[in-house]
């Protein structure tokens, strides 16, 4: 990775932080490309007992793409927010591809970490999650965004609050609600 690209991305990131919406649009494809490359690498060397952690990839991308001496934590949050959106696309696209490759319908089953949904719903379905998020985006876009940031970007409550310009308290409240909502949606899908 050339250092000029790093400084460019860092610069764009600082613009994003200033509230420049177009900077966000410019940054997304760069992050997306990098993340997809990383994910593909990871999946090629799939090891049986390794789990793919989207946030780990996002971190890796962050290290590669951003000059960390030159950004504050808010910029980092914004980078992760962008990455989460990219990550979601990558994972969902991948799942769709493979589902299409197989005969017939049925959702590809994946396993989410138990902490995601709570112990009653250890198993989830990435595409079911995607469906649910799409549905949620219609009902409450902000909640859908919170889920995206937290699930796919691994953002903390404080970071979500920064990115979405909300108070920590409201993020927490929304999170409480959406957790229950998702559990319900996903549990319906996984009940055998």
């Amino acid at each position: 990775m050339q250092s000029d690209e790093v400084s460019r991305i860092t610069g764009i990131l600082n613009e994003v932080k200033q509230g420049d919406r177009s900077a966000w649009e410019r940054l997304l494809p760069m992050v997306y490309g990098e993340l997809r490359q990383l994910a593909a690498q990871f999946l090629r060397h799939e090891r049986n007992n390794h789990t793919l952690q989207p946030t780990a990839l996002v971190h890796e991308a962050f290290m590669k793409l951003v000059d960390q001496t030159n950004v504050d934590w808010q910029s980092r949050a914004h980078f992760f927010a962008i990455s989460s959106q990219a990550m979601r696309r990558i994972l969902v696209d991948h799942a769709r591809q493979h589902q299409a490759a197989k005969r017939g319908g049925g959702h590809k089953r994946i396993v989410l970490d138990e902490n995601l949904i709570g112990e009653t719903q250890r198993a989830g379905n990435l595409l079911a999650l995607e469906d649910a998020l799409t549905k949620l985006a219609e009902l409450d876009p902000r909640q859908a965004k919170i889920v995206e940031l937290r699930f796919f970007g691994g953002l903390s409550v404080a970071e979500v609050a920064e990115v979405l310009d909300m108070s920590k308290r409201s993020v927490e409240r929304e999170w409480t609600m959406v957790r229950s909502w998702l559990r319900r949606e996903l549990s319906d899908g996984t009940t055998p």
């Binding site: 994910a39 990871f42 999946l43 799939e46 090891r47 049986n48 007992n49 789990t51 793919l52 952690q53 989207p54 946030t55 780990a56 994972l91 991948h94 799942a95 493979h98 197989k102 005969r103 049925g106 590809k108 089953r109 994946i110 396993v111 989410l112 970490d113 902490n115 709570g118 112990e119 009653t120 719903q121 250890r122 198993a123 990435l126 549905k135 219609e138 009902l139 409450d140 937290r150 699930f151 691994g154 953002l155 903390s156 409550v157 920590k168 927490e172 999170w175 409480t176 609600m177 957790r179 229950s180 909502w181 319900r184 949606e185 549990s187 319906d188 899908g189 996984t190 009940t191 055998p192």
Partner: protein, 976 residues
């Protein structure tokens, strides 16, 4: 091998049709407000917030079901800035569909894994099985249909997935499945044959069920209707109960794991995550299928039988309704109340669902495990149709203790029968009470004065005879006292006196049939009590410093024995003794007695030995001899000897001289010893074969221990001397422990035989051992047993009265069987002790009778002859027990023995125990209708106690409702 998601899909769709962003915000508002509330205020808040908008409330509540407090799911607090990061298994993006995650939710997924079948049809593996085709795929592997070529039988082979066969924990679990499933042999449980290996693949061979699973069946038929549902429920209960009997919890009961073959036979399969109940842990890995798992499992509690019963409830709900259990009910205890009270719940259930089944489902779905039925057997027993216990007996099998206990659930008495029983028993008891004065021994035995007065009198006598404590420091003075029966008296008057009514002088105390003894001294006064005996009955050999006085019930001296502490004896100084004093104390006039040569030596050293002979003034027919000895001018020995004591030497049952053991004692001792040896042998054998009811035995042993301890605490005479008390404690403990251990051994040894031969005798008993103390069945047994006990006493009484009416020689009044000291005469504490020990001995008696009967049945193979032989034995024991060996009312005792066997076989063990308890209680207490007698309170308390027991039994027996319950409302009354 899976299905069933259709049901939930429709529900989800229904919900979202009405949802829009505005509505969503509304839901969010209410939901978040509820989250802030304490749980007890939630309902009220929802009532207000969703007034007039039930669908809003439904939506919020369905979300609340999934709102878990963060502590519950182990999440770190949100404000810490940390987020648990979702991890995706790498394979989600690759081809292989299997995951390493240890969950079951997707184990039975029906989707194709993009993998071809491992074996082409026709392949022969392990040189034995010809593969026929894939039956299903699960998370652990695939199930194939195959032919066993060696035995020419179809089998099912379950293969562990290739990528898992190197995973040790998976393999271990696979082995575990075989191990556990093999423990259970039952037609309703899928048989697992063996584990095998072929070309690196591990597989389990098991019974092939030619049919479909319940889930598939429900998909095709919608729901099971009345009869079919009942059939399936009964078989499920039987299969599940069999597994539970062996301590195996299934933990994954769901329609997909229930196979139904073409003939309708139900078969529980897949013990893949089953666990031994005793090995199940709290907070273990959460395994199972969430939709069928009991709520307590989500809270990390230890899985129990009741967890399986919850799953059973969900399965039955799905089966009879044809829909999945609504999720809000499924996961939320709070919703359970709504299920009960919801008005439309009745309409939810189709009309042809049997109300009993409905009740069972409701009970199984109770959020609190303790509210659910005790066992699958209990459910089976409550279902109409064939009694599972009868079925098992008919099949020649041995029912499990749980199954025996379950057979009695909810069974009571018909109201009319109960009332009849109670009235007869109460009338009988009244008759006993009225007749007692003329028939029972104690009220006629001349108990004129209470023990306190007699003790005072004894002290006075000791003082009058010059032994008033001069030898002792006042602080060291101690005394013991008690009543005793002179059984030689009864023998004498039964055998040797030819009068129409030899018992007419019984109450005059001339001669005395009952006496009060009083002893004081400064040494040991309380001898250690041997097995089963109270210290009161045994007395130490006399020691220096000990003075013993015997009085009759009126306080007249019968015997005096003193051994001076300091002899200070000077043979030269012979002083005169005024013999008229002891005569006066004995209520006799010395001038009417003629001096004779002494024939017996006094039991202590004396320098003067004298004897007189004469008769009682008020009963001249009985010749008596008086013996007196003196030492150093003081009376040391004085005894009024009736003729029967002359004959019997000094052995009168309470003497210190070691008498040869009585027949009764020898018989008992031999039986005890033989039973102990046989018991240990049989118990060892039964334990080896896993047949004994360990839980029941342990509870019995604990019960015996507790009762024995209470008996020791309340009924024993406690010493103030530390060493003596410690000795008594150790002995008491040893005795109680021996009894408890003995009970345990015998129970393990013989209970399985009884359970096999006559399980019905153990129903109430098993229920009590399981903690059902307020059972209608217990009530019934108390009522019948109490009635039996009262009848026994009445039989005894008529046995006394009848000869009088027929002008035959009058038999002796009925006295308690040998082995009872009259401690209850000494006060309330001892009375309590007697009651406890009577209860304890009754339990032991009942068990012994039952076990002996089963032993007879095992040895003598003809049932009728065995019963007859056992009755004969019982008659002999009763006759010998009646105390004076030569008089045997054989006929009466035979009647009693047959009665006891009848009660035992027809009603059960508990009834026999209660019967014996009531009978002995009445016989050992001074029952009298004469309220002036000092002991009338004690006797009448006993009568009142028995009356209370009967009424309590009556009350309990009705609580269960009618035996034959036909109307729905009555069933609901009893069930809830």
């Amino acid at each position: 091998m899976d299905d069933g998601s259709l049901l939930v899909a429709t529900r989800t769709q229904r919900r979202h049709n009405t949802m829009n962003p505005k509505r969503y915000q509304q839901v969010k508002e209410v939901f978040l407000a509820v989250c802030e509330l304490d749980s007890d205020r939630v309902d009220a808040f929802l009532d207000e917030a969703c007034a007039g908008d039930p669908s809003l409330r439904e939506e919020v509540e369905s979300l609340l079901v999934y709102h878990l407090p963060s502590t519950l799911i182990g999440e770190s607090p949100e404000d810490s800035g940390e987020v648990k990061i979702p991890r995706f298994v790498p394979k989600i993006l690759s081809d292989a569909g299997e995951t390493k995650d240890d969950t079951r939710a997707y184990e039975h997924s029906r989707e194709k894994k993009g993998k071809e079948e491992r074996f082409a049809p026709g392949t022969i593996i392990a040189g034995r099985y010809r593969m026929l085709g894939l039956l299903g795929r699960g998370g652990m592997g695939e199930v194939y249909r195959a032919d066993d070529l060696k035995l020419d039988q179809p089998v099912a082979l379950k293969f562990l997935s290739r990528d898992m066969s190197h995973d040790r924990s998976r393999l271990e679990r696979f082995h575990n499945e075989v191990r556990l499933a093999r423990k259970v042999t039952h037609p309703n449980v899928n048989r697992v044959y063996d584990i095998g290996e072929a070309g690196g693949d591990t597989f389990i061979s098991m019974e092939y069920v030619d049919g479909q699973n319940l889930g598939m069946l429900l998909q095709s038929v919608g729901r099971l209707t009345g009869d079919k549902a009942m059939q399936v429920a009964r078989q499920l209960c039987a299969g599940l109960g069999a597994a539970h009997d062996r301590g195996v919890l299934h933990l994954d009961l769901k329609p997909a794991n229930i196979m139904i073959d073409s003939s309708g036979q139900v078969c529980i399969t897949d013990f893949g995550i089953a666990s031994l109940a005793k090995e199940a842990k709290r907070d273990g890995p959460l395994t199972g299928t969430p939709a069928f798992m009991a709520p307590e499992l989500f809270q990390g509690k230890k899985p129990t039988v009741q967890s399986d019963l919850y799953s059973l409830g969900v399965v039955l709900y799905e089966a009879v309704i044809g829909q999945a259990l609504p999720l809000d009910i499924l996961r939320h205890g709070r919703r359970q109340a709504d299920l009960e009270s919801r008005d439309d719940s009745a309409s939810l259930l189709p009309d042809d669902v049997d109300p009993v089944l409905e009740r069972v489902i409701r009970q199984c779905l109770e959020p609190d495990p303790r509210q659910r039925p005790d066992s699958a057997h209990e459910i089976a027993a409550s279902l109409p149709g064939v009694d599972p216990l009868d079925e098992v007996i008919a099949a020649g099998e041995t029912p499990s203790p749980d199954m025996v206990a379950a057979a009695g659930a909810g069974v009571g008495f018909r109201r009319k029968t109960a009332i009849a029983c109670l009235s007869i028993a109460l009338v009988g008891l009244t008759a006993v009470w009225l007749l007692a004065k003329h028939t029972l021994f104690l009220p006629q035995a001349g108990l004129a004065k209470p023990p306190a007065v007699l003790a005072d009198k004894a002290e006075e006598i000791i003082a009058r005879l010059g032994h008033d404590m001069e030898d002792h420091q006042p602080s060291e003075r101690r005394s013991v006292q008690g009543f005793a029966i002179d059984r030689a008296y009864l023998r004498y008057f039964t055998e040797s006196v030819n009068e129409a009514d030899p018992w007419k002088n019984l109450s005059t105390g001339r001669p005395p049939a009952i006496f009060f003894w009083y002893r004081h001294g400064d040494g040991r006064l309380i001898p250690p009590a041997p097995f089963g005996e109270s210290a009161l009955r045994r007395k130490l050999p006399p020691e220096p410093g000990m003075t013993t006085v015997r009085l009759d019930g009126y306080g007249r001296l019968i015997r005096f024995e003193a051994i001076p502490l300091r002899s200070g004896y000077q043979s030269s100084s012979e002083k005169n003794v005024d013999w008229s004093v002891p005569f006066e104390l004995a209520g006799l006039d010395i001038s009417r007695f003629e001096a004779v040569d002494p024939v017996r030596k006094p039991p202590m050293f004396a320098d003067r030995v004298l004897a007189w002979k004469g008769v009682y003034e008020d009963n001249p027919s009985v010749p008596i001899r008086i013996e007196g000895s003196a030492l150093d001018g003081r009376v040391v020995y004085f005894s009024v000897v009736p003729p029967y004591q002359d004959q019997a030497g000094v052995s009168d049952g309470v003497s210190w001289v070691s008498a040869p053991p009585s027949h009764a004692f020898v018989l008992r001792f031999t039986l005890h010893l033989a039973a102990m040896v046989c018991g240990i042998f049989l118990a060892w054998k039964n334990l080896g074969q896993g047949r004994g009811d360990r839980r029941g035995a342990l509870r019995l042993a604990m019960f015996v221990f507790v009762l024995g301890s209470l008996d020791w605490i309340v009924g024993e005479r406690h010493s103030t001397v530390w060493a003596e008390q410690a000795a008594s404690l150790y002995l008491g403990l040893a005795r109680i422990t021996l009894a408890a251990v003995g009970a345990w051994i015998w129970y393990i040894a013989l209970e399985p035989h009884v359970r096999r031969l006559w399980p019905q005798t153990l129903i109430t008993w098993s229920r009590i051992l399981q903690g059902h103390f307020r059972d209608p069945l217990l009530g019934r047994d108390i009522l019948i047993g109490g009635l039996f006990g009262v009848c026994l006493v009445l039989v005894f009484q008529f046995d006394i009265l009848l000869p009088g009416w027929l002008h035959l020689p009058q038999p002796a009044p009925k006295l308690p069987a040998a082995g009872y000291d009259l401690a209850e005469l000494l006060g309330v504490r001892y009375k309590m002790g007697t009651m406890i020990s009577v209860l304890l001995t009754s339990i032991i008696f009942g068990l012994t009778a039952l076990f002996l009967m089963s032993l007879f049945r095992v040895i003598i193979r003809m049932p009728g002859l065995a019963t007859l032989a056992f009755c004969a034995l019982l008659t002999t024991v009763f006759s010998i027990d009646s105390g004076y060996d030569t008089f045997m009312p054989w006929l009466t005792n035979a009647v009693l023995a047959f009665g006891a066997v009848f009660i035992l076989k027809r009603v059960g063990l508990v009834a026999l125990i209660v019967g014996r308890f009531v009978c002995v209680l009445i016989m050992t207490n001074p029952i009298t209708s004469d309220f002036n007698a000092w002991y009338s309170a004690s006797g009448n308390f006993t009568v009142a106690f028995v009356m209370g027991l009967l009424v309590w039994g009556f009350y309990l027996s009705l609580a269960g409702g009618p035996v034959v319950a036909s109307s729905v409302s009555k069933i609901k009354d009893t069930g809830e």
